[in-house]
């Protein structure tokens, strides 16, 4: 009989791959080094044993760990694998007296394939292990901890794999302070991902026998626990409850989770459960997850009156699943591409027009002209990158000070919106020819500008970033969302990449001015072109005043507009009068700006005003509990995370979401439409965005019943929306 066993892929790798004798010789030379065996590499995972420190200390706390790097979309399993699969294990062959404990499993993820739900890990995971060293161990001797690792790695298909893993370490005497190894940071991260102790969360499992095998986990939250945005309960024991059934309710005393027991579930006296939360801490040390032991009762349970369905766990974890698991480098790449696309977004385009104008002026073909243009390009790039870094710095500083803010935070302040309106209005007036900057500036400044034309380019870059801040381009959302969860250095690097991407097209044009040869020769047309460009500026002002009207009300907008009239009067005085009158113009402009400033002050009182003014009858205000309730009733929900100051949001709304055909498509699928308005600061929305791995708007989420939440792209088309709806 011939049997095809090719499906079983065995990957046995000797503990010491490579020229062993050479390695051994090297150990002799280097003395106290840690030696990791070559990782076991398969098509789907890279597995190796790593050590936290550079030596094993007698009587000390020694940690090693099994590192698994999964190929994209492949996963391995938690100690309770869920519907199928089995947990990763290692069979040890240890020197006499040595011992290795159980894995300290990090909090797993809920992974769904059709109706089958598993608990496990994707991406990179480290499963830490404690090593006990016998008291008889001799300092200086080298110890090899080795074993056979077996893991089941799955995507839609499953491959059982195995390989020999080993790590060799010198022994250090008791009490010796040994230095950390190269992978120490991964151990710190793995400990941060460990579930904490949630025994303060008292839980009871009500498992009254019934045909449907329904059971309820009734959880009492400790005092001061805060309201969780979402809660997920992972049963620690295998084959006790069905992982695919879970509905979470918020009750007066905490939470109630409806689960389903498996046939023949063997319930011990306690039912250990890992609680993972969004929105507040569950564990004792501020971790977002922790384990508690529920008391098992055979009494029946009735959901208390007033209980509300929470953001369906499926939705909450789905959002995490939809959350882009980026590496640092891919976030940099996304930020760079996002930056380039940013130039084409509606809020940057007017500024881009300005740049084209500047090119037209500079496109001289002399060597000096070329040099000047290149210099101009470099200074522009420096201006863009430094401005992004400054904004990122401010954002990080505010976040570390505890503010719940995200990208676009600067526009949540009406004062900033007003200042932007003033800047764009002045640029417009200037382009129209109402006044020249040269008429104002002292001669010393003018001569400086002549000597350093780069200063001009630098501020053009700053201006471009200021104008770009209300926009998010495709790819940018994911990259910034990633950046804000990383260390400050990594976050700044991502923002710098964004700036470089944004500046690149301009720098390229400055470097190769020949590409501009298609533009007509300089001439009187340039004056006309310049004046035409004033109009996109004024349109921008109209939009900013509209935002202001939503933030500060009609009075705030009126005061702002009056201020603009004052500015126009000042500009006219500067431009058309004798030099002695110019200073009156400057004074008039200053007075106008100062008088209009209270528009910002007014807004502070208006921030609590209902932000959903832009909602039409069809759209209702976002309510996560209602999303869960509707999903529970089998109804899909579409949520538009938006803000008045977000131009991409407004473009999507006007061009796609409010189109008759799209409205009909929503109606045909009976989709409830909700809008989460982030025009003013709203902590709930900031948290919900963070849970989806985003830090800014727009974000479009389709919650289909019983499915993970689906994130749509930042730039919508009718096709994208229709396609997503068609899958319902």
């Amino acid at each position: 009989m011939h049997v095809d066993t090719s499906a079983v892929k065995r990957h046995r790798v000797p503990a010491f791959a490579g020229p062993t004798s050479f390695v051994t010789a090297l150990i002799g030379l280097l003395g106290a080094t840690v030696l990791h065996a070559a990782p076991v590499k398969t098509e789907h995972a890279e597995v190796e044993l790593i050590a936290e420190k550079t030596a094993l200390v007698v009587g000390g706390k020694n940690s090693i760990g099994l590192s698994i790097k999964h190929a994209p979309h492949w996963h391995t399993y938690w100690k309770n694998p869920g519907d199928s699969g089995y947990p990763t294990k290692v069979t040890w062959q240890l020197p006499e007296g040595y011992g290795v404990g159980e894995f300290d499993w990090p909090t797993p993820k809920r992974l769904a394939t059709g109706p089958i739900v598993n608990f496990g890990y994707e991406g990179e995971v480290l499963l830490p292990l404690n090593v006990s060293v016998p008291a008889s161990a001799k300092p200086g001797e080298r110890i090899t901890l080795k074993g056979k690792a077996e893991w089941l790695v799955c995507k839609d298909v499953c491959i059982p794999e195995e390989g020999d893993v080993a790590v060799t370490l010198p022994v250090a005497e008791s009490g010796k302070d040994v230095s950390s190894g190269a992978a120490a940071a991964r151990f710190t991260a793995a400990r941060a991902a460990q579930p904490g102790d949630a025994s303060a969360w008292k839980a009871t499992l009500f498992a009254a026998p019934n045909a449907a095998r329904d059971a309820w986990l009734d959880i009492t939250a400790p005092a001061g626990a805060g309201k969780l945005v979402a809660l997920d309960a992972f049963p620690v024991q295998e084959q006790v409850s069905d992982p695919s059934v879970q509905q979470v309710y918020r009750t007066e005393r905490g939470y109630a989770v409806k689960i389903k027991l498996v046939d023949g579930a063997k319930l011990a006296e306690g039912f250990p459960v890992l609680l993972a939360a969004t929105g507040a801490a569950v564990g004792s040390k501020g971790e977002s997850s922790g384990t508690t032991l529920a008391t098992v009762s055979t009494a029946s349970f009735t959901l208390p009156a007033g209980a509300t369905a929470m953001t369906a766990v499926a939705a909450a974890t789905g959002a995490t699943a939809g959350r882009t698991d980026l590496t640092f480098w891919s976030a940099l790449a996304l930020a760079f591409v996002g930056g380039m696309i940013l130039n084409l977004m509606p809020c940057v385009f007017p500024v881009l027009s300005l740049k084209i104008l500047s090119f037209a002026q500079h496109s001289a073909h002399s060597a000096a002209g070329t040099r000047r243009m290149r210099q101009h390009g470099v200074f522009y790039a420096v201006g863009v990158v430094l401005s992004f870094l400054a904004l990122a710095g401010a954002l990080l500083a505010l976040k570390s000070a505890g503010s719940a803010i995200g990208w676009g935070f600067q526009l949540q302040n009406p004062g900033v919106v007003w200042a932007l309106a003033v800047i764009f209005f002045l640029i417009g007036l200037n382009l129209m020819g109402a006044f020249e900057v040269g008429q104002l500036a002292p001669s010393s400044l003018l001569s400086m500008q002549a000597k350093h034309p780069g200063v001009d380019a630098f501020f053009a870059g700053v201006l471009a970033v200021i104008a770009a801040s209300p926009c998010t381009a495709p790819f940018m959302g994911a990259a910034l969302g990633f950046a804000l969860t990383q260390s400050a250095a990594a976050a700044l690097a991502v923002f710098a990449a964004l700036g470089l991407g944004m500046a690149l097209p301009y720098v390229l044009l400055a470097w190769f001015p020949k590409w501009l040869d298609r533009l007509p020769r300089p001439g009187p047309w340039m004056v006309t072109f310049k004046q035409v460009l004033a109009f996109p500026m004024f349109v921008t002002v109209v939009w900013l005043v509209w935002v202001l009207s939503l933030q500060a009300g009609a009075d705030g907008a009126a005061i702002g507009l009056l201020g603009l009239v004052g500015l126009a009067f000042g500009a006219w005085l500067i431009g058309s009068m004798r030099p002695s009158v110019r200073w009156a113009g400057v004074a008039a402009a200053l007075v106008a700006a100062v008088l209009a400033w209270p528009a910002g002050e007014l807004a502070q009182t208006a921030t609590t005003a209902p932000a959903g003014k832009s909602s039409t009858a069809q759209w209702q205000a976002w309510d996560p509990a209602l999303v869960a309730k509707l999903n529970g009733e089998g109804k899909p929900v579409f949520v538009d995370f938006t803000a008045a100051w977000c131009v991409s949001c407004q473009a999507n709304k006007r061009l796609v979401l409010t189109r008759a055909e799209i409205e009909q498509a929503f109606a045909a699928k009976n989709v409830t439409l909700m809008r989460a308005d982030w025009t003013n600061r709203d902590e709930r929305i900031t948290q919900a965005l963070a849970a989806m791995g985003r830090s800014g708007v727009p974000v479009y989420v389709l919650h289909a019943p019983g499915k993970p939440a689906q994130l749509l792209p930042e730039l919508l088309t009718t096709g994208i929306v229709k396609e997503a709806l068609a899958k319902l």
Binding site: V3, T5, Y86, I159, Q239, G264
Partner: protein
Amino acid sequence: MIRTLATLLLSALVAAAHAATVGQPAPDFALTDVNGKTVKLSDFKGKHVVLEWTNPGCPFVVKHYGSGNMQSLQKDATAKGVVWLSINSTNKSASDYLEPTRLNAKMNGEWKGASSYLLMDESGKAGMAYEAKTTPHMYVIDPSGKLVFAGGIDDKRSANPADVKTAKNFVRAALDETLAGKPVSVATSTPYGCSIKYL
């Protein structure tokens, strides 16, 4: 869209029907075998029936057929008058789906499988009614139509064929007991294997 609709429909169907539970009547089904014959579970009332969820693309199924373990279990059971139904609930869209002729050639031809019928359940309806999660996933039904065993084939959760010899086979034990008219002592066990690709 069809997949999503199908999932919703299936979930609704499963919710509507009573899930299979040990000690309760086993849900009836009508499926087509690889030769086009319609087979109903209720046709075998009065006989012991074994249900085996399978998919030859799964390494865990390969373990039990490659070692000859499943075939010997099938032969021993059918020799004692037991009806053995092998069921493949793999959805047509899955990468390792095999159409009936190819499934037949693989399992009954190449592997010399000895089940009574090899049944197609592409819709996943029967699989979901039994809450079958993995391949293999085993069920034993007594002559009264009552489900007496559900779970994994043995206690060695691995894909290593060498483990077959040392494992405790729950299906063999359950069959021996129920054929002798005794209650099944281990009526449920942890199923292990590849997840069934319903969609």
